[in-house]
Amino acid sequence: MKKMRKLSLVFIITLMTAVILTACAGTDVVLKYSPGSFDTIVKTFPELVTDNTLKDHYYYLSVDGETTLKISHDYDLTGGDDLVIQTPIAPFISAGLDVTKLGEGYKADGTTLYLTADYGKGTGMKNTATDSLFESVKADRSSLTYHQLLDHYGIKLLKGKFEFAKDYTTNDKDLVFVIAAKPLAELGVDVQNIDGWLFKTMKDTDGSDIDVLLKPYDLK
């Protein structure tokens, strides 16, 4: 009887170990499934992406033609600006932004505000927007997030985030540009009144409140 028990225990432990080992290969399901979701969106809505790589090494992803995510196809060639969210600066200036005070992660010129991110040199030139976007995740896994409440994946930039629906068919916010409100508020910007951007206090994954500026798009 005791032998049987021991055998059962050994069997269960072996089974568990096998399950864990098997599972280990594919445990990062967010990384596994997120490129597929993004790829589905850009393939379903090809007009969203403009290939400008021959000119400036970027794919341009935009719904309204104004706020755009620029994705470098070769991180080695784009220096510190591998991913860039660019958006008209006028509403921010109207809300009190002093461009001279912008710090790391921001750039600005007369017409546009840039939120930038550097993910190192990458692994070479990529041929699709999806592969290019996920070069950032290869460099830093923590740049990829999943938000259960919204059912969104996200790619973190230094002062912002680009989010896309895990399943655009069931989501009413398929693409979302996110700018952290707090750093801007600290620069004196009236973050609650920026034209074209929605101010919202969200719950972060650690439960803390986080103020953000959102520009969501429903592609359907």
């Binding site: 269960i12 445990t27 990062d28 399901v29 967010v30 997030t145 259960q148 994954t205």
Partner: protein, 783 residues
């Protein structure tokens, strides 16, 4: 049948043996006597289990009675060996999902105790394993469920970014918890298959569903549906199992404490004894001591067995057995009892009773039997528990289906289902009565009050009238001869010689007083011829060719003895509280002898305490009204039943019962036995005869009448405690099930989390046992 006879040393004169013989005859006619067996039952966790074992055994042909006690884990069965074998009974119990081991003798009882201790240790180990593994599961789950807590967890285990790892870690940690609690599944599912689901079934289905759902959710996450990470239910399964196991463990520890009185009694027995063999001191094991051995006990040592001192003097502390704090002086000829402590001198005594025959062994057996017997109030809980589990299973299924139909998602439905199953475990209900009875009877034993079972305990609290026997109960029962009035030609010495000779074979207290007086005067007594006891009247014997009649007025009248000349003396003496004995020699009144008994020092206080409890106190005696009234007045009793023949005591008690009163009879003598049996509660003064002790429901070991009030107060406290326990157990389930079913949620209130349900369920059992343990602090209010 000889074994069934009571161990008595009575004389024919004073005992009405009809009631005993009648019982014996009835049993003899029924060809085969049922055999009683006590089994230790393993695997019982709740009252549904004990009900299932009871049901299973009662169904068996040849089993005439079965009583299963959850607290002691014992079953007491009566069966006909010609119809069913014990092995068949055991097999039936095994088949029902439990184990059965026969308990025989003290050695096996010790083994059973060891087995239980081992079980408790195993439970502790399993609880520890479960707690070690379920704590991180709960921690990880809480970090996700209540992010505001900001519980730090490793980045790679985050529920949002790494949902599969988050789920797998919980899955892996939950497995050892499920293994630690595997008993719930093996027993619970087995009993479900057998059609008698119990508490384990509820836990098994509840946590099993949660665990299987967790696995399903994990697979879904693996397949890309991360929303399942929000409610994995691994934490519910793990924590509920841990809490239920913890509850069971605490319950087992507490149950051990409820039988501490037994342990204390058992611990009184030394392991060894010193006997003198061929002049040499030999230290032998206790069970090697035989009747007739000379046992040596040094000062400070425990007296190992019962016996009679043959050499040495000492004072002996018998407080452990009788509750009497003052040591008792002992000298050659005195009896000593095993378990008492020899305080001062070195004594040698001859072993008279050993092993299971010693007073201590009998007391332990009596208390054990008492703790195993159910009170009628327990039957309500048993009936409810028997139906409870199937009903709960039904409620859980119906509620889950109803919520599913109303459109709630699988998480919501599962929460309802698991919560109902977990919160409705009826363990508190099953523990409510037996734990209180165990503690109550145990406490009684500590106080020198042996209550023979739950039924006696429950009946005692209803007592509103106490009938006290006078001689030996209110009084010391050792009267001394005070007066001799002569009416014939014989002188005092001649009369006393004849009377004492005739009475020498009698056990009557007044007869003993006369014999003792004669011996003190140095008179030579002669063996009587043709001694005849006339119950309730006196004796008739021939001494030196003369016919001697000695007894009460009825004896004289029935023998047409003229007693006119003694009337004035009789009136005077009886008015001063004397007990009278007329002596007639050859058909003529020769003397009137009077004896006086002293009232016990505690009797007045005892009567006063009974009155304070709202009890009506009545004195019953064979003495005449005048004599009885004097004693009654001395102790503060207003109502007296005098001139009652021994055989009429029972009918007097019956008359009181017929008038609607719950009556307790307190007595010490053989002649009190029928009345003790007739009364709703018979209380025997432990210093009295074996017959009285056997016939009684309550034995007052100290011989102090104050214990009558103490016994009633203790039983009232115990029944009050049982009612509290039952109230809370019922309320808990009545309130808990609707909340778990989502009734509050319908009105905008919260939904019950299975973890909270598990915690509440465990606490309900622990609180019931803790409440019962409060009885250990029971103290008698002294006037």
């Amino acid at each position: 049948m000889a074994d069934n006879k009571l161990d008595t040393n009575f004389t024919n004169r004073s005992l009405d043996t009809d009631f005993i013989n009648k019982d014996l005859d009835t049993n003899t006619i029924n060809s085969e006597t049922p055999k009683m067996v006590e089994l230790s039952i393993g695997g019982m966790t709740c009252s549904a289990c004990s009900a299932a074992v009871e049901r299973t055994t009662k169904k068996l042909p040849g089993v005439s009675s079965s009583s299963v006690n959850l607290t002691t884990n014992r079953a007491t069965l009566e069966y006909l060996p010609s119809v069913i074998k014990l092995s068949e009974i055991k097999a039936a119990i095994d088949k029902a999902g439990y184990s059965a081991t026969e308990i025989e003798g003290e050695k096996q009882a010790d083994q059973e105790q060891e087995r239980r201790d081992l079980e408790v240790r195993t439970m502790k180990r399993r609880v520890l394993v479960a707690a070690i593994f379920s704590s991180p599961v709960l921690y990880i789950a809480l970090s996700h469920m209540i992010p505001q807590l900001k519980l730090p967890i490793p980045y790679f285990m985050g529920s949002h970014d790494f949902p599969l790892i988050f789920a797998l870690v919980q899955f892996v940690l939950t497995i050892p918890v499920m293994l630690a609690g595997s008993r719930f599944f093996t027993v619970g599912l087995k009993t479900l298959v057998k059609g008698s689901p119990n508490m384990d079934t509820l836990v098994a289905i509840g946590t099993g569903s949660a665990f299987l759902y967790g696995i399903f959710a994990t697979v879904k996450i693996y397949l890309g549906d991360f929303s399942f990470a929000q409610s994995l239910y691994f934490e519910s399964a793990a924590v509920v199992i841990t809490l239920v196991m913890l509850g069971k463990y605490l319950e087992a520890v507490s149950k051990g404490k409820t039988s501490e009185a037994i342990k204390k009694l058992m611990n009184l027995k030394p392991k060894t004894a010193i006997i003198i063999k061929n002049g040499i001191e030999l230290e032998v094991n206790l069970d090697e001591v035989a009747v007739g051995d000379i046992v040596l006990v040094r000062p400070g040592s425990v007296i190992p067995v019962d016996g009679i001192i043959v050499e040495g003097m000492s004072s002996v502390d018998e407080s452990m057995l009788t509750g009497e704090s003052l040591p008792v002086e002992k000298q050659p000829g005195s009896t000593v009892t095993g378990g008492s402590i020899n305080s001062e001198g070195l004594i040698r005594f001859r072993a008279e009773k050993v092993g299971a025959d010693t007073a201590l062994s009998k007391i332990i057996k009596l208390v054990q039997d008492a703790q195993g017997k159910k009170a009628p109030i327990a039957k309500l809980a048993d009936i409810v528990s028997g139906y409870f589990v199937p009903i709960v299973l039904g409620i859980a299924a119906i509620s889950a289906i109803a919520w599913a139909i109303s459109g709630k998602d699988v998480n919501f439905v599962l929460t309802i289902f698991v919560s109902i199953l977990v919160i409705a475990c009826p363990c508190a209900l099953g523990l409510a009565t037996p734990t209180a009875i165990m503690v109550g009877t145990g406490k009684g034993a500590e106080m020198g009050i042996l209550i023979k079972g739950g039924e006696a305990l429950e009946a005692t609290h209803k007592i509103r009238t106490v009938v006290l026997d006078k001689t030996g109960t209110i009084t010391e029962g050792k009267p001394v001869l005070t007066d001799i009035r002569l009416y014939g030609e014989l002188d005092e010495e001649e009369t006393l010689t004849l009377c004492a000779s005739a009475e020498s074979g009698s056990e009557h207290p007044v007869a003993r007083a006369i014999v003792e007086s004669a011996r003190n005067r140095g008179l030579r007594l002669i063996d009587p011829i043709g001694f005849k006891a006339v119950p309730g009247r006196g004796i008739d014997a021939m001494v030196k060719g003369s016919r001697i009649l000695a007894g009460n007025i009825k004896l004289m009248k029935e023998n047409t003895i003229d007693i006119v000349s003694s009337e004035k003396d009789a009136l005077d003496l009886s008015l001063s509280g004397r007990t009278l004995m007329y002596v007639a020699v050859d058909g003529k009144l020769a003397a009137l002898m009077a004896a006086a008994d002293t009232v016990r020092p505690t009797s007045r206080e005892a009567v006063s305490r009974l009155k304070d409890l709202g009890i009506s106190v009545i004195m019953i005696t064979g003495d005449n009204q005048n004599t009885a009234a004097v004693i009654a007045k001395e102790v503060g009793i207003e109502r007296v039943l005098a001139d009652v023949l021994p055989e009429d005591k029972a009918s007097e008690v019956k008359k009181l019962q017929e008038s609607g009163q719950k009556v307790a009879m307190v007595g010490d003598g053989i002649n009190d036995a029928p009345a003790l049996v007739q009364a709703d509660i018979g209380m025997a003064i432990g210093t009295g005869t074996d017959v009285a002790v056997e016939s009684a429901d309550v034995v007052l070991m100290r011989g102090d009448l104050n214990e009558v009030a103490s016994a009633i107060a203790l039983s009232r406290a115990t029944i009050r405690n049982i009612k509290q326990n039952l109230f809370w157990a019922f309320i808990y389930n009545l309130a808990g099930i609707p909340v778990a079913a989502g009734v509050l949620y319908i009105f905008g209130g919260p939904l019950l989390n299975p973890i909270i349900a598990g915690g509440a369920m465990a606490m309900s059992s622990v609180s019931v046992v803790s409440n019962a343990l409060r009885l250990r602090r029971f103290k008698i209010k002294q006037n």
